[in-house]
Symmetry: C2
Amino acid sequence: MNQAIQDLYPDGHSHCFGCGRSNRDGWHLKSYVDGGKTHAQFTPEDKYSGGVPGHLYGGAVASLLDCHGTASAAAFRYLQDHNSLQQVPPIQRHVTGQLNIKFLKPTPIGVVLDLSGELVSIEGRKVTVRLTLTANETLCAEAEMIAFGVE
Amino acid sequence: MNQAIQDLYPDGHSHCFGCGRSNRDGWHLKSYVDGGKTHAQFTPEDKYSGGVPGHLYGGAVASLLDCHGTASAAAFRYLQDHNSLQQVPPIQRHVTGQLNIKFLKPTPIGVVLDLSGELVSIEGRKVTVRLTLTANETLCAEAEMIAFGVE
């Protein structure tokens, strides 16, 4: 009933390494709408270490925020026009135009990471969302994304 | 003679998935100083696709900019005090405080990607650098990073 946003992407747009269901080598991040916000959880493997073992490398932090952000943008736009996420009409894939990340604390490896997204605004094709990445209830990174809907 | 910046990181800080020489599963990005700027080249594997095959996923674009950016910050700071990059005294690892990325064009997979970095400012522990990612001479992404030196 509460379906992952990424599982609603059209087949041709489902190959992302970070979140595409059709990428057999990828991370398959799954984002959900809940109570007007979006949420996702992910536990990275040890190999995605930063310079010092036990902490996630910056690129993975950015990847999780990026994939969760574009899913959030797609969902918020869809929910503007429809009561709930559905297969029909198809959800519109969104791509990142701008991603501004603040790295606040080192992100630990070996715990579940929590991602959240909230809508800032929708103006035409442009959707702005605010994102957080939290570990053990500590805010590790936050970001603002501008995403654009694509056909 | 022109040594990769990442190969000068202290052993304890050399485990990054994106650029650490000690991460056996990682990408081993190598950044070099040349003519007052920094440069790196990288050719991602096909699996790092975005939603549509043949294009790099946003997280990988961010990862390359992040790893090249922290290396650039470390090198620019070192070169402020020394004539050239050397083993002794050791280079100071830098970590990202803020990374603001503009995704300008889809980044193709299957070609060599070129990364560049230039110094904007050094203020105490804070180094600001400007970064680009180019493919086939097309500017695909640009970023500004604020990085901080760590002990």
